[in-house]
């Protein structure tokens, strides 16, 4: 199976080429990128290519609630030349309020028919937080509240994916105003899992990296299951490590080289942004590993010189002030450091040299006495023997 990827004239790829209007080379490049993002072993790109090429496109219902559409934008505005084609072709986007041509009741009808036609097989993607105060009247589509829509669409979905920080836990809309008396956001914004009362796959980020979303969908396409997640529902392939662990500026952190102010010498030299409030040490995401926007290395907030704001992490992004210093999650500084002036050792002290000499003396003395006694008794024994054998009187 893994060799079929080299068979570029394979019928499936020819069909995919026509369908996607993209060269096969680019198509396979995309598949390899997705496989790598997922952290799949070498050879898996073949499975991904097969899955994508065979056009088992799952129907996707995409709901928008309290959000800015940044997640959709990031998917569509990716710099990769034909990514948007793939997004619209890898999946069958049957309902997406921003992208669909239909409007009004026509649009709602399209959603209902797509749900009925793909009952139990479609993927539900939710973008945006869900307001809960006053029975959720702050966000309505077609007369239904976001809560009602979420529950209705999730009922028959094969999988539910919450894209973006808002859908993941409430995100920016859930931020509690820093005014006395407030203990929740004005609209009581919540994430999808809270509304459904069960865990869902979340792709937090503001916006999230489009590859993390695509890779999750392609994983579902290829293996029929959603990828393994952490306890917050974030796929481990993308959110398994702290940003701090893979950060390109990490060496500066370890060496104690920090930018102290925007535009200072350290900042211009690309030093660590920890002291400017970078939340990399307490934020799980693969940003330093895959970057943003297909624009090459270093194209992500920290790479551009801005501290990470922790947008993928509930309780950090949109909650902690941007320039507050992060809490170190896994790199607790040691209680003590090795000495810089490592001692190179001492010569013999009087006490130890004297002790050694005493031991050597005692041993030598003891051995000499013992040897002397042994010799004497040997001599005596020889004499005895000589006496017994009279003729040999010599000792």
């Amino acid at each position: 199976m893994s060799t079929s990827i080299f068979d570029l004239d394979h019928e499936r790829f020819v069909v995919a080429e026509e369908r996607l209007h993209m060269p096969r080379r680019e198509f396979l490049q995309f598949c390899a990128t997705v496989a790598a993002t997922l952290g799949l072993p070498a050879g898996a790109e073949a499975a991904v290519a097969e899955a994508v090429a065979t056009a088992r496109r799952p129907s996707v219902i995409w709901l928008h609630f309290q959000e800015c559409t940044g997640c959709s934008e990031s998917l569509l505005r990716a710099e990769h030349p034909t990514l948007e084609k793939l997004i619209l072709d890898v999946i069958s986007l049957d309902y997406h309020e921003t992208l669909m041509a239909a409007a009004g009741h026509q649009a709602e009808a399209a959603r209902k028919s797509a749900m009925a036609a793909n009952k139990g097989k479609y993927i539900l993607v939710i973008e945006g937080a869900i307001p809960t105060k006053e029975n959720g009247i702050y966000c309505k589509v077609g007369g239904q509240t976001a809560i009602e829509l979420t529950k209705e669409c999730a009922a028959d979905a094969a999988a539910v994916i919450a894209i973006g920080s808002c859908a993941s836990w409430g995100g920016m809309p859930s931020t509690v105003p820093s005014v006395a008396g407030w203990d929740s956001s004005p609209t009581g914004s919540a994430g999808v899992a809270e509304i459904l009362g069960k865990p869902v796959v979340t792709i937090p980020g503001c916006p999230p990296n489009p590859y993390n979303f695509l890779a999750t969908v392609v994983h579902f396409l290829t293996f029929g299951t959603l990828p393994a997640t952490d306890k917050l529902g974030r796929p481990l392939f993308a959110y398994g490590r702290l940003i701090h662990e893979n950060c390109e500026r990490r060496a500066h952190f370890d060496a104690g080289r920090f930018a102290m102010a925007f535009g200072d010498e350290g900042h211009r030299k690309g030093y660590c942004l920890y002291k400017l409030g970078c939340k990399g040490p307490e934020t799980y995401a693969n940003c330093p590993a895959i970057g943003f926007g297909d624009a090459g290395e270093n194209n992500w907030p920290v790479g551009c010189g801005h501290p990470c704001i922790g947008c993928t992490e509930k309780g950090v992004g949109f909650t902690k002030p941007i320039h507050t210093v992060a809490k170190m999650l896994n790199v607790a500084p040691p209680l003590q450091y090795p000495r810089i002036d490592e001692p190179i050792g001492k010569g013999a002290s009087f006490a130890s040299a004297a002790a050694l000499a005493a031991i050597a003396g005692a041993a030598a003395g003891g051995a000499a006495m013992l040897a002397r006694n042994l010799g004497l008794s040997h001599q005596a024994a020889e004499l005895e023997k000589a006496k017994e054998a009279k003729p040999k009187a010599e000792a």
Partner: protein
């Protein structure tokens, strides 16, 4: 084993356990215990002169390297008796084994004492943490196994004492396997201890760093084993006022000298072949120590070179000491004196380090006295004495 029947059965020597020797040993052990208490509460740095350039000192080189070489008597004699089928040496096996038992068990203890983070030691035996490519790992596992094997090998002594005849009978059925292991394991790790110098590379002076050092270590371990038997028999007979088994020690000394010749041939052939013998004539501490070491190995021929000389127990005693000294110097020279990690590091043992090493050897002496007096180890004295 066939010759066993004709030998005097081993029997406890008897006599008081409390005397000048055991009392002195006890005091030295108590001093060691106090120093080790400090070491375990305040770390190695509080009682040793170890540093980054000399991560091991006399606790490893003397207690483990030299101590385990001294403890090769059991294996050397067992090899002679069981592998080369020289049954006449059988009465020497148990006393030699006893010394080995203490030597190795204490070497194991000394390693733990010397480990900075000794509480991690279990990782060595945990297959998922073990590193089978490491020489140290081989040595550690091999020595651990050998300590267990030796206790089993020595177990009949305890069975006899406590009248556990059934257990003794059962054990004797698989004893051949234990003895084979007890010969194989020390050959493996004694040579691996030498391999450490191969691994240390240029940090070890060229007079000692050579690819054949595993063979040198193995040969000197066997030589030391026989030397210790000579030494121990003389001391035991002197201390317990027993007759010496000269009819065994005299031919044993000849076997030993044969191996010394083989060792010297290998040693000098290697030095010549690598073209480093010239370094032995430089005015350095290493060259001086090299000749001291060599003097021990050559000197032994002056002491017990002739058949007549080998019949004199005093000469056998001195010959044994010379070879023990020679093998010790070989290890001391390569591991400490000819060992230079650069950067100006130096090492000389602290008083507390010396006292702990003394304490370790005191345990051996005390244990030997207690066990030979109370357990059947030494052959029963003939009625005439």
């Amino acid at each position: 084993m066939s010759a066993q029947v004709h030998h005097a059965k081993p029997a406890p020597v008897g006599g008081p356990l409390l005397n000048a020797v055991t009392l002195t040993a006890g005091v030295l052990i108590a001093i060691m215990a106090m120093i080790l208490l400090v070491r375990f509460f305040y770390g190695l740095g509080s009682v040793t002169h170890l540093n980054d350039g000399y991560p091991w000192g006399i606790w490893i080189v003397v207690d483990v390297m030299i101590g385990s070489a001294f403890a090769c008597g059991g294996f050397s004699v067992a090899m002679l008796v069981y592998i080369f089928n020289r049954g006449e040496y059988h009465p020497l096996v148990r006393p030699a084994l006893l010394a080995s038992l203490f030597g190795y068990t204490l070497a194991g203890v000394a390693v733990i004492v010397d480990l900075g983070r000794w509480w991690n030691v279990w990782n060595m035996y945990w297959p998922w943490s073990a590193n089978p490519n490491s020489v140290m790992f081989e040595v550690a596992i091999c020595i651990t196994l050998y300590i267990i094997v030796m206790w089993i090998e020595f177990a009949p002594t305890f069975f006899e004492k406590f009248g556990m005849n059934e257990a003794k009978r059962r054990l004797s059925k698989i004893m051949f396997l234990i003895i084979a292991l007890g010969t194989l394991l020390p050959m493996m790790h004694q040579s691996s201890l030498g391999t450490l110098w191969v691994v240390l590379g240029q940090q070890v002076h060229p007079l000692w760093q050579t690819p054949v050092v595993p063979l040198l270590f193995l040969l000197t371990a066997i030589i030391t084993g026989y030397a210790v038997v000579l030494f121990e028999s003389c001391v035991a007979s002197s201390a317990y006022r027993r007759s010496i088994e000269m009819h065994l020690l005299t031919p044993l000394a000849k076997v030993m000298l044969g191996i010394v010749v083989a060792y010297l041939v290998v040693r000098f052939a290697d030095l010549l072949w690598r073209g480093v013998l010239g370094l032995a004539f430089a005015a350095t501490l290493e060259a001086l120590m090299f000749w001291l070491e060599m003097a021990c190995f050559f000197g032994v021929f002056l002491v017990i070179g002739t058949a007549a000389q080998r019949r004199n127990p005093a000469r056998l005693f001195l010959g044994g000491i010379l070879l023990m000294l020679g093998s010790s110097l070989l290890r001391l020279n390569g591991f400490l004196i000819g060992y230079d990690t650069g950067g100006g590091y130096q090492y000389f043992p602290s008083l507390t380090e010396i006292l702990v090493t003394v304490g370790m050897f005191s345990i051996e002496v005390l244990g030997y006295v207690v066990i030979t007096r109370r357990f059947p180890v030494l052959p029963r004295e003939a009625a005439h004495a």
